[in-house]
């Protein structure tokens, strides 16, 4: 059985041209009226690879707003009960181990003690500091992801949605510090994020036809409902739960604060020690690139180790096999930790991921005003990351753990305290026993690697796990 892309919500398999993005979080009070709302807004959700408004469709066409939907487990439970889905074998109270516990069980929710310990969400990253201070963490059921072409369309669109939501008894969890009172932001000009890096280059190229072509990813990285011996995705057995989740995906939301001033200060403060190693490149640009694995313009270090090419190179066609020590792309650079590509993993991880390292389909947006320079202005800014995958613990949480502790590959044993280090961009530096310094080989200069004390440049302000059902199951949940 192979998936039909038309049954997959397009958000995960196409890219929209819309600049303005908003995540509305709603709490269901009355499932019946909530279903009315869903019927009006979710009935025409886009499925497929080239929906209107995407780069794969007519790029000259007018951009109408689009929205997509995902639900947390309490939300799905309420809607299934309203559908009397028990008769179809979908009793949420009896879901048992049909779905991953990291989705269904409060004991393994993102803010639970067990997951917080596993992901090392400590210090400022701890759930006490997530969301809006004091907010009840179970205050929402529905994530409605809205895409708008411009500010006027957003203003109008949000007004309409909110009026209908209110009339449908949906309570919105608002974020008073955002102008839109919701997690919202935009695709920045040229795709340049806070910290100055271009995003949106690497893509997960899904192998819809199971050709096994190198460079393509198995659709099971994204989609539930097709368990295989290489992908033991819950539910593993055929049955109503399997049918219900098929062509759906988990949507992991991470709200991340970026301390731009601290990052810029770090680059500036180490300008002098970096200068002898950076060759023809500007020392600060060189250090930033080594930490990310890409130059700020997006060109990969693996392909352009010396300097930013002119013009920039969007190629994503590279690996790390020929660079086992990280001379070009340091082992602890962000993109090498989050996607080690062809770098060998430890035996346990090879066995866990027989088809290659876990993949995440990344969506999301920047929020907050840009900041230049090294003085903080006290304003909130960062990234709302949306990471889609078929297994929460094996994929999303594994990568989050790898960011915090780089022990997933034997290569780390070749450098001092290599397995105790962290993603150089990211990670809670106060983690017990963490080696919170950079490790940047000095290359042909023959000098010692650059080991500079890292700071907390990024911190978590919230993590939530949703399930984005297929187009078909979304209709079912809506009561259609």
């Amino acid at each position: 059985m192979k998936p039909d892309p038309k049954n997959v919500q397009s958000l995960f398999i196409a890219r929209y041209r819309h600049k303005f993005r908003v995540v509305l979080l709603f709490r269901i009070d009355d499932p019946a009226t909530a279903q009315g709302f869903l019927q009006r807004w979710a009935a025409n959700v886009n499925g497929g690879l080239s929906p209107a408004g995407s780069y794969a469709a007519d790029v000259e066409a007018q951009l109408d707003p689009v929205c997509h939907f995902a639900f947390n487990w309490p939300g799905i439970s309420l809607l299934l009960k309203e559908r009397a889905a028990t008769a179809q074998g979908l009793d949420p109270d009896e879901v048992g181990t049909n779905l991953e516990q990291f989705f269904t069980e409060e004991d393994h929710a993102p803010n639970s003690n067990s997951v917080v310990a596993s992901l090392d969400m400590k210090g400022m990253n701890a759930p006490e500091n997530w969301w809006t201070a004091g907010a009840d963490q179970s205050a929402f059921h529905i994530a409605m992801l809205c895409y708008f072409a411009d500010a006027a369309q957003k203003f109008q669109g949000l007004g309409k949605i909110r009026a209908d939501a209110e009339a449908s008894g949906l309570e919105e969890w608002q974020f008073p510090d955002f102008d839109d009172k919701a997690l919202s932001g935009e695709v920045p000009a040229g795709g340049i994020l806070h910290f100055g890096f271009r995003d949106g280059i690497s893509k997960v190229d899904i192998d819809w036809e199971e050709t096994g072509t190198p460079g393509k990813s198995d659709f099971r990285e994204l989609l539930l409902g097709y368990p295989s011996s290489d992908y033991r995705i819950s539910p593993v057995d055929p049955g109503p739960w399997n049918d219900f989740v098929r062509d759906g995906t988990y949507l992991n939301l991470a709200w991340l604060y970026q301390d731009v001033a601290a990052f810029n200060r770090f680059l500036r403060d180490h300008r002098n020690v970096t200068a002898p190693l950076s060759g023809q490149a500007d020392p600060e640009e060189w250090l930033a690139a080594k930490m990310m694995g890409r130059w700020r313009d997006g060109s990969a270090l693996a392909l352009h180790p010396e300097r930013m090419p002119e013009p920039w190179d969007p190629s994503n066609n590279f690996g790390y096999r020929s660079d086992p020590e990280g001379e070009r792309t340091p082992l602890h650079s962000h993109i090498r930790v989050c996607n080690p590509r062809d770098q060998g993993l430890t035996h346990v991880n090879d066995r866990r991921f027989p088809k290659g390292p876990p993949r995440l389909i990344r969506r999301g947006f920047s929020y907050g005003p840009p900041l230049e320079g090294t003085e903080d202005d006290g304003k909130d800014r960062g990234l709302v990351g949306l990471f889609a995958c078929a297994r929460i613990n094996e994929q999303f949480y594994s990568v989050v753990r790898w960011i915090q502790k780089t022990d997933f590959s034997d290569h780390f044993d070749t450098i001092r305290r290599g397995r105790k280090r962290q993603d150089m961009m990211f990670g809670f530096r106060g983690k017990r026993q963490a080696e919170a310094t950079t490790y940047i080989p000095a290359g042909s200069a023959g000098a010692a690697p650059l080991e500079l004390p890292l700071k907390d440049f990024i911190r978590y302000k919230g993590i939530a796990v949703f399930f984005a059902p297929s187009v078909k199951s979304l209709k079912y949940l809506s009561g259609s």
């Binding site: 067990s114 022990d407 017990r432």
Partner: protein
Amino acid sequence: MTHPLTLTLKIKQDPETLAALNDLKENFAEHIQPKIEEALRKSKLVHFARVVVIGDNEYIQVITEYDGDHFEYTEFFRDALTPIFAKIFSLADGVPDVDNPAEFFEFSKNANVRTLGLSTDGATDMHGNQAGWLFSAYNHAEVRDILGALQRDAAE
């Protein structure tokens, strides 16, 4: 960080199960032990491991000291040792389907007995609470640290 695993299962007392237990005991050295040993050696995560039957064939325990996160490697052990776990678990009630990751995860979490006392190295249990006590003569160094040190020592 090293964690203790004390998987403890109450053995069913029907004649069939007791016969299977007997079979397990008899075959352990020749057929089971080498398979566990191979998987654990390759994992570079487990310090020590043993399987014991206690009481009058009342309980079977799988006891190990292992490194790393509780949730990171469950799938590896399930996958690498599926037939062994199937054999051991079949001696108890409420057996999970070891081919099913979620069932295996739930079962192994619940069958682990907490050690007395409190961890001194910040270790947490599978529920995220402070773990029970586990003494470590080498300050909770990981298997890979120890293997690396031994290798360096041998090379000198």
